[in-house]
């Protein structure tokens, strides 16, 4: 059988590629692919668990600026969130990273226009954060599942290791809850929490309902730091939980509910005595 050089090289090339590929594909039983499963791994015994973590925000309990600052900085300090404020207090909005912050009524609830409503509500700040939606748009669009909805408790989680920094989730989130690391955040971390990692440039981050605290039986940092009854945190699926009782007995609104995202953060209207 005669064969010209070109044909020989083509066959040799394709065979080598197939050979290498087959070697890789058949190396199935190695630790890379296996992963860890119970009983080799277990959840912490002291972990707080729920079927559907949700939060009720009662702005009537936030009375002073200090109340806000304590809540916000508890989160940002615990999680090594960088502070891009300039010495004069102004913020470099461009690179800004925030997991929880204040917004006026017209910004938190833009489609609930009510020009003659109570002046106090118009002017007061509302605590806003990731809503850990039941039907999150960010999870739907992420090409690598770097952001995903935890099956066990509904928290919309971030895997910073897998994020490729495409920022599709930031475009998709209807609440502007996500931040991107446009530069190395480490020089801007005011006080380091050595028990929690930082992030690196090029990944997206957001509130994770403090999964690392829930795993050790602690409530989220903001809930703990907020004035008593300001942030109520609990299992919406549990009929006896405080969040469920508050939502069933008082009037609450959510941000942009018409979009079908099903936010899990509810805002109490009118304040209540549940504390």
């Amino acid at each position: 059988m005669s064969m010209d050089r070109r044909k020989f090289l083509k066959i040799a090339g394709i065979s080598s590629i197939l050979g290498l590929g087959a070697t890789a594909a058949t190396a199935v039983d190695n630790v890379w692919v296996r992963g860890l499963k119970p009983p080799q791994v277990e959840p912490n015994k002291e972990a707080l668990t729920a079927q559907h973590w949700a939060m009720v925000v009662d702005m009537s309990k936030f009375k002073t600026e200090e109340d806000f600052q304590k809540t916000i900085s508890a989160c940002h300090t615990t999680h090594n969130v960088p502070d891009f404020r300039n010495p004069d207090g102004s913020v470099d909005i461009k690179d800004e990273i925030k997991w929880i912050w204040k917004a006026k009524y017209e910004n938190a609830f833009p489609d609930q226009d009510n020009p003659y409503m109570e002046e106090k509500i118009k002017e007061m700040p509302f605590i806003v954060l990731c809503n850990h939606c039941e039907n999150p748009a960010c999870v739907r669009v992420c090409p690598t599942q770097a952001t995903f909805k935890r099956k066990q408790d509904g928290i919309v989680m971030m895997d910073m290791h897998r994020c490729i920094g495409c920022r599709f989730c930031m475009a998709a989130c209807p609440y502007g809850a996500r931040s991107f690391n446009y530069r190395d955040p480490r020089p801007f971390i005011k006080s380091e929490n050595r028990e929690y990692p930082t992030r690196t440039k090029g990944v997206v981050e957001k509130c994770t309902f403090c999964t690392e605290r829930l795993a050790f039986g602690k409530l989220p940092a903001c809930v703990e730091a907020a004035p008593k009854g300001g942030l109520i945190f609990g299992d919406l699926a549990d009929k006896n939980s405080e969040v469920r009782k508050v939502i069933e007995t008082s009037y609450t609104i959510r941000r942009k509910p018409e979009l079908g995202t099903g936010p899990s953060v509810y805002y109490l209207i009118g304040g209540n005595e549940h504390a």
């Binding site: 909005i93 461009k94 690179d95 800004e96 990273i97 925030k98 917004a103 017209e106 910004n107 938190a108 833009p110 489609d111 226009d113 806003v128 748009a137 739907r140 669009v141 992420c142 090409p143 690598t144 599942q145 770097a146 897998r162 994020c163 490729i164 920094g165 495409c166 920022r167 599709f168 930031m170 475009a171 998709a172 989130c173 209807p174 609440y175 502007g176 931040s179 991107f180 690391n181 446009y182 530069r183 190395d184 440039k201 090029g202 990944v203 997206v204 942009k256 979009l259 079908g260 995202t261």
Partner: protein
Amino acid sequence: MLEKALVGSKKYWAWLIFLSALAVSGVYYYLQQFNYGLGLTGLSRDVSWGLYIGQFTFLVGVAASAVMLVIPHYLHDYKKFSKIVILGEFLAIAAVTMCILFIFVDMGQPMRIMNVVLHPTLNSVMFWDSMVLSGYLFINLLVGWVTLSSDRKGVAPPKWIKFFIYLSVPWAVSIHTVTAFLYAGLPGRHFWLSAVMAARFLASAFAGGPSLLILLALIVRKVTKFDPGKEQIQTLGTIVAYAMFANVFLLGLEFFTAFYSNIPGHMESFKYLYVGLDGHRELVPLMWVSSIFAAASLLMLVIPRVRRNETTLALACVMLFISLWIDKGFGLIIGGFVPNMLNQVRTYWPTRQESIITLGVWAIGFLILSLLYKIAITVREETEGIEIEH
């Protein structure tokens, strides 16, 4: 056939060196961006996609336009396109390569790009976009190469290539539909949340791409011995006219829905772009240039006398290309982010580094285009007089 790209006149080499210089400066600034982070661009927490993604969006359209040559020639037996289909396919290769490069420079963690393949996510439009773009690149490389080498040998291409040629038609439609889906399925952004998004994308693709092809054909006629043909250019001009009409019409539909419904969420982005919002008027002059150029070029294209004159046709194509570049490559993206999801106006403008990187990617695209066109034109010049059968 690759060796044909290495032989050329002094002007050819000067052009390649010029493009290479632009490409190198783009790479230099990209390395700076790689080290510092995307903070080197004008992007922010509120406007998280900008020039890079805009260019990618625009170029997907240019890439899809190869199909405007393939459909008449292979599906409707319009033999007149037989000599220039290759120009469309090679333009598609250059355009898709630029798309991929723009996505790459826009990523925060480009070294992790294989995560999209290692962890395929079927519900993510972006996953599908990367799949269809890679597929389209492969199809055009295969089809272009096989048909051109057959032409060079003076024989008909192998029969199996017909499968890929026919495949390229729905595939071209898909790359742009999927890219439109990146925007059209996001719940919070009313400027993008429109059913006609994909139709608009396709219309502007089929106007913008062939208009670039017309300009390239005219340039090719001027600097080489190959003449794409007056009739071929005229047919392309007709295609551009129809597509541009559809594009302008669909944009008009968007305006109607936004302003007749009077829903603030739908109107505000249009206001920001065309008249300014909250005192911010950064994009207003640019958007009006785009609209005026669009109207003018459409007018010129529908008047047969003006379209038949190749000088005015070229002028119309230039204005059209610029108009669509502004609209798709910039306005559409920024408009979706302003106002932000909390109804605040935070604006964006590309930085110097960002612009040079962008220019560098365009230079790489044109480098690829020039090299491929050199090969194709040389083959055409060599096979002058030999009947092409495909």
